[in-house]
């Protein structure tokens, strides 16, 4: 399908909202560049196409850019990644995409950056540094561009609102402070989308950097205090904590403990820098209809779903077909023996194979996920160990998903169905004994699972 606009990062929070809005504008034909199209949890509008591929892959970029006059670049790594990853994805991939857009003669490049790119204090914050560097790379690309820097983006389903709600919910809120209080000016995702549409429709790009905040500016303390009231109905209490030593300490342990840390030193930069937007023409144009802070706070407290339209995941049409090969047969035998002590009857294997295809239960080749699945086929002990590991650490891993599919089948197919519905009247004492035994088995499989997963993980890292 031909397209006028290419969007990267459509699976993200702002990206999804944008796709839904653009979907209602038949005059615009757009295309998404997605690393994992099947992970997009959204019904694709008629005026939208997809190219599967990575930002860093020049071939994918080239085909995604074909015929496109505007690039809307939203893709970014956020959260808790390593500095190298930020550099590669946020900075280098943006530079590469800009170069490819230039080569493809795109006329307009809209980069949705972040207010953090303009933070004065970006110490320990490789995310902000990478976004600032990406902005600089875009500026040097020779393309006609606009940079949009939203502040804290709120709205139903907002990840940052979720994190802030967690902070604001505790009885005594730790308020990290540098020298003086900072202000925030959260903006609603609907208003960010309106801003992007405005840039898309009648704006001539001239290398502007436009910050975008909502209609209300309050101190961070006031923001957390109002959110606390919205969440709990009570007045917030604060505990002032000096920011510098906390950041220093977190930065120290970060290289080793990043994945288990509640926040990185860099993420705390939001306590050190004002997240407010400098006034500009775009904010002025959007202002009369902007969504206010109180609505954003009520939404954050409610955890209601974002507007998604009639949703339906994209059918896994391009996934490989599961053929009845030896691996699958072996897997089926091992798994059903493991779950029920017997296979689920003559229709079981075909049903299982069909379910895998329909639900798209495939691992990414070469991944830990794939290795775990293939190892789990090799024996009952390994399967028990990896299942226990998955129950804690890979709840959406392919192994666990396939086991749950098979459980669903065995629960409903004769002869195994009966076992699920004939309940033993063991009485409390025997049941306690059974539970104690189950607990013992569970705990030992978990220990074994952790060891197995660690070895497997090492194996995946070492293998080229």
């Amino acid at each position: 399908m031909s397209a006028d606009v290419l969007i990267t990062g459509a699976g993200g929070f702002v990206g999804q909202a944008l796709v839904i809005r653009l979907g209602s504008l038949p005059g615009i034909r757009f295309r998404l560049l997605l690393r994992r199209p099947h992970a997009l949890d959204l019904r694709l509008p008629d005026n939208c196409g997809i190219v599967a591929g990575d930002l860093t892959d020049p071939v994918a970029c080239q085909s995604a850019l074909e015929g496109v006059h505007t690039v809307l670049h939203l893709a970014a790594i956020t959260g808790k990644a390593a500095p190298d990853t930020y550099r590669a994805v946020n900075q280098e991939a943006t530079a590469a995409l800009a170069a490819a857009a230039k080569a493809a003669s795109a006329r307009n490049f809209i980069f949705v950056s972040t207010i953090a790119a303009g933070y004065a204090d970006q110490r320990y914050y490789p995310y902000a540094q990478s976004k600032a560097a990406a902005e600089a790379a875009l500026a040097a690309s020779g393309l006609a561009y606009t940079i949009l820097r939203p502040t804290i983006v709120m709205g139903a389903g907002s990840p940052i609102a979720d994190t802030l709600a967690k902070i604001a919910k505790v009885p005594i809120i730790p308020l990290l402070q540098k020298h003086r209080a900072v202000d925030v000016q959260p903006v609603h995702v609907d208003d960010v989308v309106r801003g992007v549409l405005r840039l898309l429709s009648d704006h001539i790009p001239s290398g502007e950097v436009l910050e975008l905040g909502g209609p209300d500016t309050v101190s961070f303390r006031e923001f957390l205090s109002r959110m606390h009231r919205e969440l709990t109905g009570k007045n917030a209490r604060f505990l002032a904590v000096p920011l510098a030593p906390v950041q220093w300490g977190l930065a120290l342990i970060e290289p080793l403990a990043r994945s288990v840390m509640p926040a990185t030193a860099g993420q705390l930069a939001v306590f050190a820098n004002p997240s407010t937007a400098a006034p500009n023409w775009l904010m002025e144009a959007l202002a009369p209809k902007m969504i206010g802070l109180q609505t954003m706070l009520a939404e954050a407290a409610s955890a209601d779903p974002p507007g998604r339209g009639d949703t339906a995941a994209i059918a896994p049409a391009t996934e490989p077909k599961a053929d009845m090969n030896e691996d699958l047969t072996r897997e089926y035998r091992a798994f059903s023996q493991y779950l029920c002590g017997q296979p689920p009857g003559p229709a079981g294997l075909a049903t299982y194979a069909d379910g895998i295809v329909r639900l798209g239960l495939y691992p990414r080749p070469g991944s830990f996920d794939a290795a775990a699945l293939s190892l789990a086929r090799r024996g009952a002990l390994l399967l028990a160990a990896l299942d226990a590991h998955g129950a804690f650490f890979a709840r959406t891993g392919t192994l666990r998903r396939r086991l749950i599919l098979l459980l669903a089948i065995m629960e409903k197919l004769p002869p195994t169905a009966r076992g699920f519905h004939e309940v033993n009247n063991s009485g409390p004492v025997r049941s306690f004994a059974q539970l104690a035994l189950a607990g013992l088995i569970g705990a030992s499989s978990l220990v074994l699972g952790l060891v197995t997963a660690f070895v497997l993980w090492l194996g995946c890292r070492i293998r080229p």
Binding site: S24, P26, P305
Partner: protein, 540 residues
């Protein structure tokens, strides 16, 4: 006198029955996606896998839509509806809809959303109807009427003070073991419990389920198949009343039709309804003396908005959209640990609870379902344990599992709206926007605390960390966008359901609710639709 009724859901069929009983000629149009008959009447749930030709297809669906496998993209609201009820949510591509801030469901089935309801049938009392231009005495004859038609089980107990009794109430379905234990405990500890938790009341839920045979329908056989579709008609669904309509000579049913818009003359009187076959084809105009809209708040709203758009080019907003907030609070009945309870038993709620209103806190309503049977894999996988271990644990605890489904009332607020957005095709998209009220979370937490205290008192503590606040829209009790009002105003009706905007138009679904009480609304939808139909002028 001819009446054109739009919508064959709970409201539409009961309005139609009343009109037919009054001697009117009624044409009923509806997309009318047909339901399924549920096979092997007489086979209980536990024996069903052996007798079904394709149990995988029946239980999991051809697309495995009922296999609840976790998604990497995150959790979706789980409705747990089986493939046999998929027809309820089959919506045509030509009826585009965009919910915002709510997870809305719609139905185009013959019988509507209540084809997959859990049969909770509660009367509203004067407190519930405080903002309505009618009171409980106005509603009473129509609760009686609907109860006579569909059969409602219930008992006189502590909840009666908040749910007026009505005529034609039969004994409820025999209690399942776990519900009986809970009710027995409440009765024994009642005095002490109410002293500790003064707002808490427990009693039998009111069920539109027969315990004895009635006409063609049999009483509940305890086959344990409620969820997959009651095979013997004990559990009432509106499609049964649709069948009753067909015995009247004045009745014409036109299924497969989508109502597109209404056409009016210069005086605002409706001259016809434009409809189109659902499978596509040319639009057609249907005419009658009066028109009655009962296609549910969302589609009735679309019809009004689209009619105004076609006529004036303007797209208004219909404000005041409401829905019940729901919280699912799983509890565990400690005394049932390791016990066996029959798997083949009535599956839906047998008990109900209420938190009585105070000056600042409205009535909170809850339905209590104890676990007998159901899809197990969605529950087993919740535990952070390897699956066989989780299954062992589940089997030991299953008899004591239960869930309270709490319902909270809602009020009309102007910024919760229905409107039309431009769409990609030639038709605009119906857009429903909902934002929660200020101060909601603390109010919910307060109610939950009270419920938790009460259930501790029943030795069935609410399981910590498992309580789930459902996203707005999940209760599917949408209402309030064309409210009944004493004083005429745009986009409202009078207390007889007559539109203040169009001369010969009546509205008889949830749209006309001026406020939304906590109790499940379906019984009131049916009774109110009958009330409105009973007041429509039928002179020639």
């Amino acid at each position: 006198m001819s009446v054109l009724v739009v919508g064959a859901g709970a409201s539409g069929v009961h309005a139609t029955l009343t009109l037919l009983e009054r001697g009117a000629a009624v044409t009923l149009i509806d997309p009318g996606t047909p339901g399924r008959s549920y096979p092997h009447n007489g086979t209980p749930f536990s024996a069903l896998p052996e007798v079904l030709a394709d149990p995988a297809e029946f239980f999991l669906g051809t697309d495995f839509q009922a296999a609840h496998v976790p998604k990497p993209s995150g959790r979706r609201e789980y409705y747990g509806l089986p493939p046999s009820k998929d027809f309820v949510f089959d919506t045509p591509e030509t009826s585009a809809f965009r919910p915002d801030g709510m997870a809305a469901l719609r139905s185009f089935a013959a019988g509507g959303l209540a084809e997959c309801w859990t049969a909770g049938a509660y009367t509203f009392d004067d407190d519930d109807l405080a903002d309505w231009p009618i009171n409980a005495a106005d509603m009473a004859p129509f609760y009686d009427l609907v109860a006579r038609r569909i059969g409602i089980g219930g008992a006189q107990d502590d909840l009666t003070a908040h749910m007026p009794l009505h005529a034609h109430m039969h004994d409820p379905v025999t209690l399942d073991t776990a519900s009986a234990v809970l009710l027995d405990r409440y009765e024994h500890r009642r005095k002490d419990l109410i002293r500790k938790v003064p707002r808490f009341r427990l009693g039998r839920s009111r069920q539109a389920t027969l315990s004895q045979d009635k006409g063609d329908r049999s009483g509940c056989s305890q086959c344990g198949r409620c969820l997959w579709g009651c095979p013997n008609g004990a559990l009432y669904t509106p499609s049964l009343s649709l069948k009753d309509c067909q015995s009247y000579p004045g009745f014409t049913y036109l299924p497969g039709q989508l109502a597109r818009r209404i056409e009016m003359d210069g005086t605002g009187r409706i001259t016809g309804l434009i409809c189109q076959p659902q499978i596509g084809g040319p639009e057609e105009i249907l005419s009658a003396s009066s028109y009655l809209l009962a296609c549910g708040t969302l589609e009735t709203g679309r019809l009004i908005l689209e009619s105004i758009r076609q006529r004036t080019g303007e797209i208004p907003y219909l404000g005041g959209l409401m829905d019940n907030r729901q919280i699912l609070a799983p509890f565990y009945n400690l005394s049932l640990f390791g016990r066996r309870v029959p798997v083949d038993a009535y599956q839906y709620h047998q008990l109900a609870m209420g938190l009585t209103p105070t000056a600042t806190r409205p009535y909170v309503h809850g339905q209590i379902t104890t676990f007998t049977s159901g899809d197990l894999h969605p529950i087993i996988q919740q535990m952070p344990l390897s699956l066989p271990v989780a299954n062992t644990v589940f089997q030991a605890i299953r008899a004591g599992l239960g869930v309270v489904n709490l319902n909270f009332s809602d009020t009309r607020r102007t910024d919760n709206t229905l409107t039309l957005d431009p769409g990609t095709g030639d038709r605009p998209v119906l857009s429903a926007r909902y934002r929660p009220p200020m101060g909601e979370a603390p109010m919910l937490a307060d109610a939950l605390k009270t419920v938790a205290r009460a259930f501790r008192g029943l030795s069935a503590p609410v399981v910590p960390g498992m309580t789930h606040t459902r996203p707005m829209g999940s209760s599917v009790h949408y209402s309030g966008t064309l409210p009944m009002a004493e004083t005429p105003a745009a986009f409202s009706t009078d207390k007889t359901g007559r539109s203040h905007d169009f001369g010969n138009l009546y509205v008889a679904d949830g749209s006309v609710f001026p406020s939304l009480p906590a109790k499940n609304l379906t019984f009131t939808l049916m009774a109110n639709a009958s009330r409105i139909a009973s007041g429509m002028p039928l002179d020639r």
